[in-house]
């Protein structure tokens, strides 16, 4: 499954990159969500997959009995999901705001900071 997931992640990244390159702010947001998912899956897979055994300690035991899923990447991914959501929420309101202020959702039309050169 690791190999298949690696392949899936590759496709996710490719789709995300394609969307982010579109220059359309809304598609960019979609790509952003996809690439966060891909990143989370990458961390998770890199810590190896263990099927069906959550990292829990049975009542009365001092430590997990036998091999359990690797808890460290899970903790990292949990954090990453939440931060990713924060980023997403901020980005999407920014897009909405840009639409109200600038009247466009095309990134290449937003030239306030780097205006087009006047042709001499």
């Amino acid at each position: 499954m690791e190999a298949l997931l690696a392949l899936t992640i590759g496709v996710l990244v490719a789709a995300a990159v394609y969307l982010m390159l579109s220059g359309h702010m809304f598609r960019f947001i979609l790509g952003l969500v996809l690439i966060s998912n891909a990143a989370n899956l990458t961390i998770f897979t890199a810590g190896r997959l263990t099927e069906g055994v959550p990292a829990l300690i049975a009542v009365g035991a001092e430590a997990p009995d036998g091999l359990v899923a690797n808890p460290l990447p899970q903790a990292l991914v949990l954090t990453a999901i939440v931060i990713g959501f924060g980023l997403f929420a901020f980005a999407i309101t920014l897009v909405k705001r840009a639409w109200t202020e600038l009247g466009t959702v095309e990134a290449d039309e937003m030239r306030l900071a780097e205006p087009r050169k006047e042709k001499p």
Binding site: L5, V13, H24, R27, P71, L72, L78, R97, A113
Partner: protein, 764 residues
């Protein structure tokens, strides 16, 4: 033109001074001078004073200072002339609104210069070297309201700053080759450095720094431009001190570095060319200050020339001429300042008849000029005789060197006449902008004292010999036996003959200087000018920077993204190319039908999101990817992660849905297939997959996971290890994460609400 005069109108009485701001720096400089004077008896006796505190002990770098003959000579010149210049400035710029700033720059410069000549550590030397560059930039650019002042200050900064980079490299290599950065230790190693493989690079880098700072041809063009500074600054920086920093450094490393053919020929050739070329240019000028500026170049060339040699004659000539030049050149610069101040112009053809109105200045000028022209019994005469003796002592090419020195001296003689004789004693040449008046006493003190010292030392050369020349030669050669005795009358010999030839030739140049100047002006107007070349160079630099910026910064976000993603793809591919492709554990390849279904879910969702033109389909497809991801977490033992993922996924979809309704329809924007972007996207996806496979082939380091599993219950009393990690072991991280989410939420709310409340007033 008369920057000093700008402070008060012609009819008003000039203010007396600048109060405490004017007086305190003078006292400070005087105290420094007195302190150095107190060290004179010790150093004259042949001793060296060393003083150190640690700075970077791990690298052996210390705030180390050394007072020996060479550095004390410089220190006395700097602090002594500094005192007189500050005294002079206080009247020259009396009532100037920015005098406080001026005094601060000038005093800082003086301190930096003193640090430079006293430093006993290569790194400390460099620090002070750069401080002089920066403070002199501020001083040259003191008249920053003028375009010219700013340009010339920048030019000086760039030329000397670029040289300083080479200089730093040379110092570091020298420290590396010698095994120490302490200058006194390097000098103690003698000429051992000659055999080091780095000798040549060190030499060339150090000389590049010294030549730019001391304005040797072809780096000379910044110095005359630096005359944009107020005249007292020119008197201080561009005669006595800063431009001599390069000369000082060459003298400092002389005992270690000199004695090779490269050293001899580089210094000799550059010195001779600079001396002759500068003297010709000096004759060409009509602005008295510019004339003097070029004679400074001539002096620097001569000093460089002497440092190329090793003989006792050359070293004595160096030490003597160093002092002679500082005395008469500072005096003459100050005189020019007084003339400018009194008569309102510095044009040679206008000025005349000032001797009656400014008698004291005129006499001081005459005495200094006699020293400059090399008349007996002034110190300049002794300096000149020694110059010839030193030049003739050049073993290999005495004729070339002596000929160059002769020509330069004759021209110097003519310039001395033009600058210090004609304006005072010939009949007036035209209407002066202002009725000339004698300078006040603080502006007389400098020229008079400096000129008098030149005469005193000339009549009584032993005084100078014992106190300063001998110790300096000791620093340069390591032996006092090398010193040649200074005397006014050395008998009828070749130097005397050459001296007489100088006077004759110089007189001819002086009498013929106007036609000469005219033909020179014609010649130089046609010849390519480095100064104009500089402007062209700067313009080209700015244009190419602009062109590069236009290419890199297109202002299109998609271009930036292409660059970013291409960098990721190429970087990862290169790394992978070095490591070789991963060989995978076959177990990783095994798949069940559930795995296939999960992957299919995610892949389908991703593809639909990428290519659909329907808003609803995009949102739904995004949700499918999120749910597929959550399912992966569930199947592989991460229920907590899955729960979070599901919750977030719901929120994402809700938010997207809310916002999207306020945005234009997705199908309103055409979404044609972009093959180039698709290719890049596939490349990035491929390298990410390969990178992940490479990670999977490496053995897993489970030490942290093992630690958390083992301590989760005994130490943190939690049975859900993931939760324990989040809220206990890494609680601070989680707290930070909460803060990030809160900030993001607050900003989002602010953005949304502003849009409502701000209304139309803000939008356009």
């Amino acid at each position: 033109m008369a920057e000093g005069a700008a402070a008060h109108g012609p009819g008003e009485t000039p203010p007396k001074g600048n109060g405490a701001i004017g007086v305190l720096p003078i006292l400070f400089a005087l105290a420094l001078f007195a302190a150095f004077l107190a060290a004179l008896p010790t150093v004259s006796a042949g001793e060296r004073l060393l003083w150190t505190i640690d700075w970077v002990p791990s690298l052996g770098i210390g705030f180390a200072f050394m007072v020996d003959g060479l550095s004390l000579t410089f220190a006395l010149l700097i602090s002594g002339i500094g005192t007189l210049v500050l005294l002079y400035s206080n009247s020259y710029l009396a009532g100037h609104p920015q005098y406080g700033r001026f005094a601060l720059y000038l005093t800082s410069f003086m301190v930096a210069m003193l640090g430079l000549v006293l430093a006993d550590d290569l790194i400390v030397l460099f620090v002070f070297w750069e401080l002089t560059t920066i403070t002199s930039y501020l001083l040259i650019g003191f008249s920053h309201e003028t375009e010219k002042g700013r340009r010339n200050a920048l030019q000086a900064l760039f030329v000397t700053g670029a040289g300083a980079l080479a200089f730093l490299a040379g110092l570091i290599l020298l420290g590396f080759a010698a095994g120490t950065t302490r200058i006194s230790d390097i000098l103690a190693q003698g000429t051992a450095i000659h055999d080091h493989p780095l000798y040549l690079p060190i030499l060339l880098l150090l000389l590049l720094g010294a030549f730019t700072k001391s304005a040797q041809v072809p780096f000379h063009f910044w110095l005359p431009n630096a005359m944009a500074a107020p005249t007292p600054v020119s008197a201080f920086l561009h005669s006595a001190t800063m431009v001599k920093a390069g000369v000082y450094v060459m003298a400092r490393v002389h005992p270690s570095m000199a004695g090779t053919d490269v050293w001899l020929w580089t210094l000799t050739i550059f010195g001779v060319i600079t001396a002759v070329y500068a003297s010709i240019l000096a004759l060409r000028q009509t602005d008295l200050k510019q004339s003097l500026a070029y004679t400074t170049l001539m002096a620097l060339g001569t000093l460089t020339l002497f440092l190329g040699q090793e003989s006792g004659y050359a070293m004595t000539a160096f030490a003597t001429f160093l002092i002679v030049h500082s005395l008469y050149k500072a005096a003459l610069f100050l005189v020019i300042g007084s003339v400018d101040h009194g008569a309102g112009t510095r044009e040679a053809d206008l000025l005349g008849g000032l001797g009656r109105a400014m008698p004291v200045t005129a006499i001081a000028a005459a005495v200094a000029a006699m020293s400059m022209a090399g008349f007996p019994p002034f110190l300049g005469f002794i300096g000149k005789e020694l110059k010839y003796a030193g030049a003739l002592a050049v073993a290999s090419e005495p004729v070339l060197v002596a000929g160059g020195v002769l020509l330069a001296n004759a021209l110097m003689f003519a310039v001395a006449g033009i600058v210090a004789f004609r304006p005072f004693w010939r009949p007036a040449g035209g209407d002066l902008p202002r009725k000339p008046h004698e300078a006040p006493w603080p502006m007389l003190a400098g020229p008079v004292l400096l000129a008098a010292l030149g005469a005193l030392f000339g009549l009584n050369p032993d005084l100078l010999q014992v106190s300063l020349v001998n110790p300096t030669v000791l620093s340069l050669t390591g032996s006092e036996n090398e010193v040649v005795e200074l005397k006014l009358w050395a008998g009828v010999n070749l130097p005397l003959v050459l001296s007489i030839a100088t006077f004759v030739l110089g007189l001819l140049f002086y009498l013929a200087h106007r036609p000469l100047r005219a033909s020179l002006a014609g010649f130089f107007a046609a010849a390519p000018s480095l100064d104009r070349g500089w402007d062209g160079f700067m313009d080209a630099l700015k244009r190419s920077a602009g062109a590069v910026t236009d290419i890199i910064q297109t202002g299109r976000m998609t271009d930036y993204f292409v660059a970013t993603f291409a960098t990721i793809a190429i970087g990862l591919a290169a790394a992978m190319g070095f490591r070789g492709l991963p060989s995978l554990d076959p177990a990783f390849g095994a798949v069940s039908w559930i795995d296939l279904a999960l992957a299919g879910l995610i892949l389908g969702g991703a593809a639909l999101t990428a290519f659909t033109s329907s808003r609803i389909a995009a949102i739904a497809a995004l949700g499918v990817v999120g749910i597929g991801t959550a399912l992966v977490f569930i199947f592989f033992g991460a229920p907590d992660v899955a729960i979070t993922q599901l919750m977030v996924e719901v929120l994402v979809v809700v938010l997207v849905a809310i916002v999207m309704l306020r945005l234009p329809r997705l199908d309103a924007a055409p979404n044609p297939f972009r093959p180039g972007h698709a290719g890049l996207a596939v490349a990035v996806g491929t390298v990410v997959t390969l990178a992940l496979l490479a990670v999977l082939t490496a053995p897993l380091d489970r030490r942290l996971s093992d630690y958390f599993e083992a301590t989760s219950w005994p130490e943190a009393f939690g049975r859900n290890i993931v939760n324990v990690i989040l809220v206990d072991f890494r609680a601070l991280d989680t707290f930070g994460e909460v803060a990030v989410v809160v900030v993001a939420a607050l900003s989002a709310v602010a953005l949304l609400r502003q849009g409502k409340a701000g209304g139309k007033g803000e939008t356009k």
